[in-house]
């Protein structure tokens, strides 16, 4: 007999399971964990991109020359604060510091394409003065719907990297019914340590965020997952949980195997269940959030502060003093590198994100966005001389390490040949782009590049199809309207003709009557 997966998922964290594939990678986290997190100095100009979340660009709500205070609304959802419940909703953007809006320009936005997007440029006044804040007095008594509302309007997005608007996520989750909140502190990608430092230094706010999220979605317990190599973190969280007296929060240490911090992989480790293909964790009654997202939630609810800053790891052999910085969103990367002692002479490549899933940026003028967890500067020695790509030898190594149980060699072949139906059937949408296949490929085939290309191509085809359907609908509507107009014109003409006819009859009637009267008058005298 099959038990209900939602029931089974309630056991999350009580037993540790495994996910298929994965790799043990050298950690390289220590180099940026030596010094505590410090607030980065404000640069001369902040460039706040209007697209920092999954979805469409937000619309600016300020004008050039306007003075803004820290936390003031800069840009909002298309369609107003309420927004659409659909995924194009987005998250609002707030001023990362007080100052003057100097312009709204097209500028680099830390996007893998290198395409410029619209940015609100803010010249800080140095006062860093908050706007009036409206925290919720006692979140324990607050209405869960009000908590969800605050989370949405604070512009919080998933800070683990997917930047899905948290307000939409918790609203959908609460509608589906959630029993367990999972806080993801399993920061598995090498070099990145911003979540680890956060858990070490602010365990209290993570626990608070967990409790608030739990109330906002009506869950009964929380599991915080950390890696077993993060010793100090476990201690810190343990005492924070004890301090808060939160009996419904468990801390689970998971084995460090890349990519166990992926949402679906973590859920599999904690519950032994797979999130169905095309499904969401809510199908299992789970809500998975990054630990940094939880602190942002805690700050938004208890202090009324929107998401205007985040911790960023600046690391790699290409910077002199790798460390973690608390950065105002919109700060150019160059300013952060300067505060970490500048580049070393060998610095060769700037990567946003980690070495496995990150992407190279062409310029350090790109600003820090909500998704930016790590700035990795690699040196010449780090970038292995690119070996020539060889044909696939069908060794199957990629399939062995794939955590999503895909067949990368077949997907690669299909994507290369442009067989889009086959790539779709092969489950390309389930690829999490973790880079394991790429890493082990003995032929040095850039598999993930092909999969990203394939996904983008599938999206484009979908979009084109949608456009064609829309054009067909509009064309049909126009044809129908023209036909209707023609019909109307014809009936109008007929009516007019009929009216003219009847008019003539009436005229004749009158003439006849006049004639009769005249004859009678003539006859009288």
């Amino acid at each position: 007999m099959h038990a209900d997966p939602r029931e089974l998922a309630k056991q999350a964290g009580q037993q540790r399971h495994h996910f298929p594939g994965g790799l043990r990678l050298r950690h390289n986290k220590q180099i940026s964990c030596a010094v505590p997190v410090e607030r980065a100095a404000l640069p001369a100009r902040l460039f706040v991109p209007l697209l920092q979340h999954a979805g469409r660009e937000a619309e600016p709500l300020v004008a050039a020359g306007q003075r803004v205070l820290k936390g003031e609304l800069l840009a909002g959802l298309p369609g107003g604060e309420e927004g659409n419940p659909d995924e194009t909703g987005g998250a609002p953007m707030h001023a990362p510091t007080s100052g003057t809006v100097s312009a709204i320009v097209r500028h680099l936005v830390s996007h893998p394409s290198g395409i410029e997007g619209r940015c609100i440029v803010i010249k800080p006044d140095g006062l860093d003065q908050w706007t009036s804040l409206h925290p919720i007095g006692d979140w324990r008594q607050a209405d869960p719907a009000a908590l969800r509302q605050v989370i949405g309007s604070a512009g919080i997005v998933g800070l683990g990297g997917a930047v899905f608007p948290t307000g939409i996520k918790v609203r959908e989750a609460s509608e589906r019914g959630i029993h367990t909140v999972i806080l993801n502190g399993a920061e598995c990608e090498p070099y990145i340590s911003c979540d680890e430092m956060l858990m070490r230094e602010q365990p209290g706010s993570i626990v608070l965020g967990a409790q608030i999220l739990q109330r906002a979605v009506g869950a009964s317990r929380t599991v915080i997952a950390v890696e077993d190599q993060m010793g100090a973190v476990h201690q810190a969280l343990r005492s924070a949980v004890d301090g808060a007296g939160a009996r419904d929060i468990d801390i689970v240490r998971v084995t460090t195997i890349y990519p166990e911090g992926g949402e679906k992989q973590l859920i599999q480790v904690l519950t032994g269940l797979e999130v169905p293909s095309g499904g969401r964790p809510t199908d299992l009654g789970l809500l998975c959030q990054n630990v940094a997202t939880a602190t942002a939630v805690a700050r938004a609810v208890t202090q009324g502060k929107p998401l205007v800053e985040r911790i960023v790891t600046v690391t790699g052999n290409g910077v002199r003093k790798p460390r973690n910085l608390l950065v105002a969103l919109g700060t150019p990367i160059s300013s952060l590198v300067d505060q970490c002692g500048g580049y070393t002479p060998g610095a060769a490549r700037l990567v946003l994100g980690g070495p496995m899933m990150g992407y190279a940026l062409a310029s350090d003028a790109n600003p820090i966005v909500k998704a930016a967890n790590c700035i990795l500067v690699l040196t010449e020695e780090d970038i292995r001389a690119p070996q020539p790509e060889m044909p696939c030898i069908r060794c199957g190594e990629c399939a062995r390490v794939c955590p999503a149980l895909l067949q990368p060699q077949i997907l690669h072949w299909a994507a290369r040949a442009g067989l889009w139906n086959e790539t779709e059937d092969g489950g390309l949408a389930d690829c999490i782009e973790c880079g394991c296949c790429d890493f082990v490929c003995p032929s040095h085939i850039p598999l993930v590049d092909w999969f990203r290309f394939g996904k983008s191509e599938l999206r484009r085809r979908e979009l084109e199809h949608h456009r064609a359907e829309e054009a067909r609908r509009r064309f049909a509507a126009r044809e129908a309207r023209l036909a209707l107009q023609k019909q109307e014109r014809r009936t109008r003409m007929q009516e007019k003709k009929a009216a003219l006819e009847s008019d003539r009859e009436k005229q004749q009637g009158i003439a006849a009557a006049v004639e009769r009267v005249r004859q009678r008058r003539e006859g009288e005298p």
């Binding site: 990678l25 050298r26 390289n28 697209l51 979805g55 469409r56 660009e57 936005v109 996007h111 893998p112 394409s113 395409i115 997007g117 090498p190 070099y191 790699g316 490549r349 990567v351 994100g353 980690g354 070495p355 496995m356 990150g358 992407y359 190279a360 990795l376 690699l378 020695e381 780090d382 970038i383 292995r384 690119p386 020539p388 790509e389 880079g435 790429d438 890493f439 040095h444 850039p446 993930v448 590049d449 092909w450 990203r452 290309f453 983008s456 191509e457 999206r459 484009r460 979009l463 084109e464 456009r467 064609a468 359907e469 829309e470 054009a471 067909r472 509009r474 064309f475 509507a477 126009r478």
Partner: protein
Amino acid sequence: MLTAVLTISLLGTLFGLGLGWASRRFHVESDPVVDRIDALLPQTQCGQCNFPGCRPYAAAIAAGEAPINQCPPGGAAGIRALADLLGVEPLPLNPDNGAEKPPRVAVIDEAACIGCTLCIQACPVDAIIGAPKLMHTVIADACTGCDLCLPPCPVDCIEMVLRIPVPGGWTRPRPAPAARAAGAAAGTA
């Protein structure tokens, strides 16, 4: 002998009746071929195929009156899809109908527009809004880039421009042979 003939005839009649009933009961509304061809056409309604819209062209293809290589917006990919559907050999695009171009949108120079409404009447998908003697503008999302608004404009204030790429709508280029993921080689292992 007679028994066998009768048995087989009876069985045949029964099965025949059964099949006849099933074909009525489970009748599937088959997708007419015109619809399926129309679904593969790009719906720009541009008329470059010498038919007054995508659906008439689809009807002509279905009737065997037009070859499948007259649709420039669909391009080579569209011809391939049509060939796959109809089970014929793909043909190169007929240059008499035009050349395959990257997706474009119409933009009206709003300062120069005199408000004559001729382009509004020409647009097959109602993507231009405006009123007599008032400025007109193009709804970029709805524009199919069909060029039909260009000829009627008396002041030549409409221009076709490439769609501005936005980060959200970006499509990745095909990986170059030597490209590697950002830092995939960074001293891990």
